[in-house]
Symmetry: C2
Subunit: 138 residues, 2 copies
């Protein structure tokens, strides 16, 4: 089990959430995949072992993990995608493969270079993503 999964399980416990084998398996799934996965990807994986697993369980846990900062998420083609949170210390953006969801971190954040254009707007959030096809998927 990866370090991030161990930390995530500890974080769950610290916040008073219970340990379940399903949660551990979901976390391991993300722990072993360096990219974005949809709820439906997770469900497909979980069904192998837990044939009767419910939507509710998948979605509830995804949202919980996201709330706790274990996962980060984005929306691609109308579907939410989740991935294990990158090194939490630094702000970053991603290059995302539309085939496999795998990512590469982008160092540059364009917000640093923008000041004068933001006058009058209250800025809440921003998104910078590059989409394409990674080496392995080409």
């Amino acid at each position: 089990m990866g370090k991030k999964v161990k930390e995530a399980l500890k974080k769950l416990k610290n916040h008073g959430y219970k340990y379940t084998d399903k949660r551990e398996d979901m976390l391991n799934y993300f722990g072993e995949y360096d990219g974005y996965r949809t709820a439906s990807d997770v469900q497909a994986f979980m069904k192998e072992k837990y044939t009767g697993i419910s939507f509710d369980t998948i979605y509830r846990n995804l949202h919980l993990f996201h709330e706790l900062g274990i996962l980060e998420s984005t929306e691609l083609d109308g579907e939410k995608h989740f991935r294990m949170r990158c090194d939490t210390s630094k702000h970053h953006h991603h290059l995302i493969c539309k085939e496999c969801g795998k990512t590469r971190e982008i160092e540059l954040c364009p917000m640093e270079y923008i000041e004068k254009e933001l006058k009058g707007f209250r800025i809440d959030d921003h998104k910078f993503e590059i989409y394409g096809v990674c080496y392995d998927c080409q």
Copy 2:
């Protein structure tokens, strides 16, 4: 009627599509709003005049306009948003008000500054958007 709407109607005709009053009204709606609107916004507007207008008509025309480059689109909170295409000549990005959908163009495109990070990826597209609340909505 705005210049862009006139051009759009001409473009429809040039591509062999028919003129309809519904299309003209939809185009005028976008022509008069400098920001993003959802299918449901358009529908609400169109229902005022055409009480029985169908989803199909709204969506078909939105997609057609998008295909022809009359509208540009983005996805916010799981919902497609459309706006009249900005000056088609130059690549740009947007500051988007989450309240009213109105936009401000951003001059800077971060892609210019990124080269070394893209190796091995085939780049198809990118998204740079800033979200917040505009002056009028605050």
